[in-house]
């Protein structure tokens, strides 16, 4: 859908959404987003210009539907997919893309580490109508035959440009983790739990030189500026357990991410900031406020956070609690966690569970923030319940298949789809029926 839009901008020296926004231009992408969000196009433009909202939309991902991440927009969710050394076919990843889009992921990160990474990414982008994000260090490492010490800045930039050229709309870059933070890491219970972060640590320790993503940040920005790839500034030092939450390692890195944000904005590159992780409920609001402060209100993109460390097997749920609260307090996008977190690799069913958990969290956050119209679908559901319209209830549920399946376990016959009761109270003592009698006598 973006073919013509992008085509006519061909001669512009810079083509990022932020650049246009700052020129006072409302792009077609902004118009589209305004429509989807039910907001004024001029508000979208202002938010993008201010850096408080991003529209991740690589100029080469032409069939992508524009979407916005930022506090003025609805809370978004990301789902991670990706091949591994064990399961590395493109078809499998395309299947996952379909599951993600079916259940409503707003963006998808392709975290592939096994197989032909370029070919897989090409297929993923081809089948995605949502923005695709990546963590380029995974491919850089892959191209170095898993020898992190072979990483050079040239190799790094080559891979980043290759991915940008392919149509990736945002990159997680671990540029904020500096050599001087090593002693802070050593104080932690869990150290580094970010894979990209630990790779950076390994490289820095090997050469005792500064983080190459930090050193070459300007060159990375030039690539992002060229293709309008947004940056998702990675939190290499996100806490891996409650004990490490909101500690010096995390917050010192966050300050650097704030500095990098300003650098990116100088080049009209869109930025969001990645956040934790594992955080007890009473520290979530504080984390959101600190990010807003240190990072100049760039959109906050959090991973959960998990509100306890002992929920292995149910971490989608333990993290959805933190995610819902984070969204309410002001996070703009929630990265899902699946039930397999800390235990193994998610399959398609885990992806579904993770996405629905996060749709619940993001929607609950929109309601709690009082976003216009956020509760309309809930009200429609309540009306359907009250009217015993079961098919409508299934349709309005975040996972219609699951709702229908559970209902039909007890009452499978079609006639019960209009029955004025359900299996819980049975026909004689349905609360809704009794309420309707009250209404008749006492009026509405």
């Amino acid at each position: 859908m973006r073919k013509e839009w992008v085509e006519k901008r061909k001669k512009d020296s810079v083509r990022t959404q932020m650049y246009y926004a700052r020129q006072g231009i409302v792009t077609e992408e902004m118009e589209y987003v305004a429509k989807v969000e039910g907001l004024d196009p001029e508000l979208i433009r202002k938010e993008v210009a201010r850096g408080r909202m991003i529209i991740p939309a690589n100029i080469n991902h032409l069939h992508q539907k524009p979407m916005a991440i930022g506090i003025a927009a609805k809370c978004k969710i990301n789902a991670n997919i990706g091949s591994s050394a064990l399961a590395s076919d493109a078809a499998g990843e395309v299947e996952k893309v379909k599951v993600c889009q079916k259940y409503g992921a707003d963006t998808i990160m392709d975290l592939s580490t096994g197989g032909d990474l370029d070919a897989i990414r090409e297929e993923v982008i081809k089948h995605a109508e949502v923005p695709i994000g990546t963590v380029p260090i995974y491919q850089i490492l892959h191209d170095c035959n898993n020898k992190i010490e072979d990483l050079t800045i040239d190799k790094m930039l080559e891979v980043i440009e290759r991915q940008a050229q392919q149509g990736v709309s945002y990159f997680t870059i671990h540029a904020g983790f500096l050599l001087r933070f090593m002693p802070l890491v050593a104080k932690r219970k869990m150290g580094i739990v970010s894979r990209g972060g630990s790779l950076m640590a390994a490289w820095m320790m090997h050469y005792h030189k500064e983080n190459p993503f930090y050193t070459a940040f300007d060159d990375i920005l030039d690539i992002c500026r060229k293709y309008d790839v947004s940056l998702s500034l990675g939190d290499s030092l996100r806490p891996g357990c409650l004990a490490d939450a909101s500690d010096d390692a995390q917050l010192e890195e966050l300050k650097v991410l704030g500095e990098l944000t300003l650098k990116a904005w100088d080049k009209d590159v869109q930025v969001m900031i990645e956040g934790p992780g594992h955080v007890p409920m009473n520290q979530i609001e504080r984390n959101i406020k600190i990010e807003r402060d240190y990072c100049h209100e760039a959109p906050f993109y959090v991973l959960g956070p998990l509100v306890t460390d002992i929920a292995a097997g149910y971490d989608h749920l333990a993290s959805a609690i933190g995610a819902a609260m984070a969204g309410w307090y002001g996070a703009s996008m929630l990265c899902y966690v699946t039930p397999k977190e800390h235990l193994g690799l998610p399959n398609a069913e885990d992806v579904r569970e993770g996405i629905v958990a996060y749709k619940i969290a993001a929607h609950a956050a929109d309601i709690a923030r009082g976003r216009k119209g956020a509760r309309d679908v809930d009200d429609a559901m309540s009306d359907a319940r009250y009217k015993f319209d079961w098919n409508k209830q299934f349709e309005l549920a975040l996972d219609p298949d699951r709702a229908r399946e559970y209902h039909d376990e007890t009452l499978p016959q079609d006639v019960f789809k209009e029955a004025e009761f359900c299996s819980m109270c049975g026909p004689k003592f349905c609360s809704y029926k009794i309420t309707q009698d009250i209404l008749e006598k006492h009026g509405a």
Copy 2:
């Protein structure tokens, strides 16, 4: 375990924990609770005397292990079980009791409505080491052959005493829903969604007389006082959807529950207050504060709340978000919700899912409140993760079977239980390994 304790009190005119507490006596139950909670026995006594904590322990449930519900104690969870017209054998309910206790329910409510209710309850109590709660109106209705208009106060009191005599430790009584609230119900989107509440409505509408539980409240208190049955004052008018949350119907009933609390305390009867239901995140704290105010700090026992209405099939999760927050803000017990909520009757697997979801919520709440030692198990889990001790990780997880099962899906062989990596990053780029290298170089 309580046989001797109860035996020696035989001649006391009143034998409720609240009575003893007010006499300055620390009972064996209080001692036991103090040990379990890691609190001073005198604090327990004071809290029980003040009505801010209850120890639901019927004098006839002698093998029950004492436990406490109140803000000074750890956050508790309740699981509901119960027969229906379709599945009404006692053995099935005993199985559910075992599942509840295995996964850590702190109390169990037997909400049976089908089969021989007395016989089922007897079996449930026999197999339960946790307090059993009931909703007597279900049996009253059953004994009236499902004709609610046949309910009389005598019949009501007879059933209540029968259940008390059997050893039920707390009763949900819908005494706060008064005739004058009918017009408030008529204003709602969803009316009444509490089954007990709708039965009361049906009776009141039929006779146009005041709620019989309210009228006979003093007689009910006498029974509770005799057997030390705690009251769980039911919220007949809990909101059934976000649109009805915190409305006049809910709050007017809550005020009456506050009045009834004082009446109960006058007779040394222990009380907790039931709460919603469906509440958007931004109203949860307010709900907790209002209850504290209206109900004189009697422990608050909430059902979820669900933070969105559109999560059918995942309502255990949508409600665990609200429950965790409620626990953090000060609710003392969380009533679980299963994935079948709004759709059908839960099976054993649903019970497991519901309980674990609520264990997560209650534990996260304890951590967020900063309870002494609450995070110790999380720290132990983090240590086990860092040491690659997989068996220890499974053991510390809230659902060890599930954690092991998910891990073994990818790496089933025994050797991987000590492997210094997992299936997520593989052996070469384990973040923990890299952190350990940093530690060697930079010290702890």
